[in-house]
């Protein structure tokens, strides 16, 4: 059922300044001169019961992780444990970032412990928690690499190599960092083409960005050789943490030769995606790069408090690149990630990866669609073949499940990039496979007409882009 916009329920205009503006001090006028204030403000004015119904209704028109499987490849849509919300809501977590160190020892301790956890999990020597998202983490990695090269008199390096199948953010983050992006084709098996890499590497290479397993779910078996090649020309190896959920407790980027990496805590560590964010993208580096990390980082001091407790302090890395966020990143997200890691521990983290890989392999085996390449880990890319992958996705909505990521990576025609994660039961995977297979048997007309059973039917993207209407003000009175 259609839910009106708030502005269709009410618009109230409040006049500001002059005699019309009552104030709390009884003066009846604005506390500021008219030339510093606006004339009026016109927005919906509704009661709490009306708002509760509005947002309840809106929530009913959203598919969330508690609605069913959500197998978006490379997005790692895990169940978000409820208790992590409780710890993030603790009153003691609500502190201001400009507090003195002595009065926020709890916050600093939690951050220090999380830095430490992430370092161990990734095999990295130093970690910053400041980047507020994965792409922000990539940008930090790129900036750190740039600062490192600059520091070593290698500021001329102006290329970053990115595999064709990489996440779009890799390209964009490198470009934002001022680098020329060199795109690297895959080999026949879907992995890095070593010859092409050899050709791409040069003294201009600042870094190679890789995710491993890659977006096809394939482990880059030659990773050690790749690392040697990159290091051989003086470049750095960057790890995109989007697919880390495949490896927990089985392999660590640091052990493979990566120099710098980001973690997507809203993927691997189960913090909620929130309809697009907030996430967090901590960055880990090997010791050579640690002096360039953003400021401040947190560390434990040598001495203890009079009551024997550890004392934590902020410090600026020696050659820090400075700040990439106005404060210290997405604190509430970091609290949830800490709680998740502390809950699972070694055993739980290793099991998460094992179950995620088992689930992906099981689901792939159940599909009628062709699944090229392999063996894969936590995700796989099926091909819709003659069908349009985007249409397949729309039709899957009619079966009450969320579809996979589509049409990417392009190495697989009509790609259906699928990552079930460890949280799905066999019964759910069977149901999901049944949805895939039902769609696989349907004709193009049916697919093109889909979805039929959703809140909104197929939405016209062209119209949206051709005539942008981006606010209720833009809708006009007749909408």
């Amino acid at each position: 059922e259609y839910e009106p916009l708030l502005s269709e329920k009410d618009r109230t205009r409040v006049e500001i300044g002059g005699d019309d503006a009552p104030g709390t001090d009884g003066g009846g006028t604005s506390p500021l001169p008219d030339d510093l204030t606006r004339d009026s403000l016109e927005l919906p004015e509704l009661s709490e019961p009306e708002l509760a119904r509005h947002y309840t209704r809106l929530s009913q028109m959203i598919y969330g992780i508690d609605s069913g499987p959500y197998p978006l490849g490379s997005c790692t849509m895990k169940y978000n444990p409820k208790f992590t919300e409780d710890v993030a809501a603790l009153p003691s977590a609500a502190v201001h970032p400009d507090r003195s160190e002595g009065s926020v020892q709890g916050t600093l301790e939690l951050l220090a412990r999380l830095q430490d956890y992430l370092g161990r999990i990734g095999g990295m020597d130093a970690v910053t928690l400041q980047p507020p998202a994965g792409a922000a983490g990539e940008f930090v990695g790129i900036r750190v690499a740039a600062a490192y090269h600059e520091h070593n008199g290698e500021g001329h390096r102006d290329e970053v190599i990115v595999p064709e199948s990489a996440h779009g953010t890799n390209f964009a983050s490198a470009a934002l960092g001022g680098y020329d992006v060199v795109s690297l084709p895959s080999d026949d098996e879907g992995r890095v083409d070593l010859e092409a890499l050899e050709a791409a590497l040069s003294e201009d290479t600042a870094a190679l960005m890789l995710t491993n397993p890659n977006t096809l779910g394939l482990f880059e078996r030659d990773i050690e050789e790749i690392a040697d090649m990159v290091h051989g020309v003086g470049g750095l190896l960057y790890y995109d943490g989007a697919n880390l959920n495949a490896l927990l407790g089985r392999a660590r980027p640091g052990d493979m030769g990566f120099d710098v990496m980001h973690y997507n805590v809203h993927k691997t560590f189960a913090t909620p995606h929130g309809g697009g964010g907030p996430g967090a993208g901590p960055v880990g580096v090997v010791s050579d790069l640690a002096p360039f990390l953003p400021a401040p980082r947190i560390r434990e001091r040598d001495e203890r408090s009079t009551t024997g407790e550890p004392i934590y302090e902020r410090f600026d890395p020696e050659h820090t690149i400075g700040k990439v966020h106005g404060f210290d990143g997405n604190w509430l997200v970091l609290v949830k990630a800490f709680a998740y890691i502390a809950r699972l521990g070694d055993e739980g983290l290793a099991d998460a990866s094992a179950s995620a890989v088992l689930n992906a392999n099981y689901l792939a085996q159940r599909l009628e669609y062709d699944v090229p390449y392999g063996p894969f880990h936590h995700e796989f890319v099926a091909s819709a073949g003659e069908q349009d992958a985007a249409d397949v996705a729309k039709r899957m909505l009619d079966y009450g499940v969320h579809p996979p990521t589509t049409k990417w990576p392009e190495i697989v025609p009509e790609a259906l990039m699928t990552e079930p994660t460890e949280v799905e039961s066999k019964a759910t995977l069977d149901r999901l496979a049944a949805a895939f297979n039902a769609v696989a048997d349907e004709d193009d007309d049916t697919l093109a007409a889909a979805p039929e059973r959703t809140t909104a039917r197929r939405i016209d993207q062209t119209s949206a882009a051709r005539t942008p209407r981006l606010s209720w003000q833009a809708l006009g009175d007749d909408s």
Binding site: L58, I65, T107, R221, D255, A456, P468, L470
Partner: protein
Amino acid sequence: MHGSHVTGSPYAPHTEEDRSAMLEAVDAAAVEELFDIPATIEFDGDFDIDSRTERETRRLVRSILSRNDDLTELLGRGHYGYYVPSLVDHLADRSEFLTSYTQYQPEISQGFLQALFEYQSLLVELTGLGVANCSMYDAATALGEAATLAERVRDTTGYRVLVPELLREERRSTLENYVAGTALTVDAYPVDDGTADLSGLEEIVDEDVVMLYAESPTVRGTIEENLTAVGELAAANDALFTLGSDPIALALLERPADVGADVVVGDASVLGLPTSYGMGLGLFATREEFLRQVPGRLVGASEDATDRRAFTLTLQTREQHIRRERATSNICTNQAWVALRTAMHAAALGPSGMVDLAERDVRRARALAARLDDIVGVKAPVHDRYHLREFVAHVDQPARAVADDLVEFGFAVHVVGDHEIQVCIAGVSDERIDRFAAALEEVVR
């Protein structure tokens, strides 16, 4: 556990029976066989992280965070602790909002898209500008994005970004990182008694300037009185005029469109989030003419196959997942859920509540400054300007010592100079403000 459930991750549901069946289906004797990792780099150590029950984990976090002192914070400078109505928590925490992904399948995401559309509309009303995106990370990164926008859209060449000399250091540093890969440089223009020094600014503005940035309120809590003049200077030099503000300020202060602003950035989570150690929501609005160069996601109205109004992410060709290295920004994951909360909080206040809140801030800050000014050894406010919600006070004693002593009384304030503290009343109850004034009097005695 006695049952057939296999533990490990408490959030992985497989029973022994299921696991066996699945392994059989994939023709593997053990899960380990599925991993294709060279032996040389297999990790055979452990992280030394204990597994805990849910209750133990909650206790651990509570225990760690209990080391934070319980202080009344009179802190601001870009991060505020306004009271957030309970409604916001309860509705935004509904798992459909909290746990869903970016709305790449709009047909099953109408609720979130509509909420973000409403958020964009709120900002359009507040700024008077035609376009607002549905979130950046925070004020600092939004400022960085504004600079790169300026570089893209400005007609002529140029390389200078001018910012006020009084600016949060962190904000400037973030901006500098954003422009590090471009040809842009960041310069400061002078400030006079807490707001822009117009003549000083005039002297250093030239046609190499691509963006001129001003804030209102400023980092010192003053209301910038020269916005129109600053905007005219920017326009005269074909520079973008970017204004830093926030939704509560914008509910009361001059409308950005009316002072010539091309871009508005800031932290929108002053509505919607309680104090969150600096976690924020980057507000980003601009003129319609720059639409195709806007960073970040945009929600637009369209129609579905039955011609009913429906919402969708639109103009995605600007974004990284389509345009890659030619995208308008590298942003992907943003702060959508915070934008939802901000929209909810604004809706709960309504326009009258928003204006009232801003007006009360002005009055309460003014009253506190007057009261502190009566204390021997204190002068407040330092700046002879209008203030929105915070102000700088001079203390005869060393400011650091005053602040430390105030902690003992249960209050946190900023130290912003050897003899200057900064005090913010946002979200602080009248009763606490009374106690603070008494404490300061005690401390400086």
